[in-house]
Symmetry: C2
Subunit: 117 residues, 2 copies
């Protein structure tokens, strides 16, 4: 078992095209040999955002601090700390910090699946 | 996309043998057709605990509120809000609320894998 505060994990800027003012921490992933899904932490400064994009895997999200707007295929959705967000595979999405404080959320993605093992 | 507060999800007592004072909410699971991993919310009252057990799948945990002790194969580990806990598959574990307030955490598990699809 591993028990560590979020802050103990290395934080790096999100370098993807279309992102601004966003940083990421890998919380549980390859280092733990987590074979089914990976847990990441995102911090987005006021006015910042993640890329407006889509991909063939889902997101499962827990909003920890702050507030913002999620752009979705069903329109803009406001969210704040304590909200759970489900983004199905292949849906366009973006998370914008529209509040005055840092936006922090946990975002999980599937790990690559290897059916040969 | 689905955006909902944790509290909007139905809460039920954890009925498993060895659990006491614990309640669960399914946040993202079969209802969302989440095929890779499922997100649950647990609330444990002061003095309560989850079962001391093991299983062939991992846990990825975010502690939201309160504090407690995790029994692990490496001994007892204190934890509190803001901690991330990784429990590898097949490791014995239990979460006890040793604080004076409700303990709340998010716990993710893999969904059944179907390699025929």
């Amino acid at each position: 078992m591993k028990v560590q505060p979020i802050e103990a994990h290395e934080q790096n800027p999100v370098q993807m095209d279309g992102a601004s003012g966003a940083k990421m921490r890998m919380l549980i992933g390859p280092a733990e040999q987590a074979k089914n899904f990976h847990m990441r932490h995102f911090s987005v400064e006021p006015g910042g955002y993640t890329p407006h994009h889509q991909h063939d895997y889902e997101h499962e999200i827990v909003v920890l601090k702050g507030s913002g707007v999620a752009k979705s295929e069903q329109g803009d959705r406001e969210f704040s700390a304590g909200d759970i967000i489900w983004v199905p595979a292949n849906e366009m999405h973006q998370f914008q910090n529209t509040g005055g404080d840092a936006l922090e959320f946990i975002c999980l993605i599937p790990a690559p699946m290897d059916c040969s093992k």
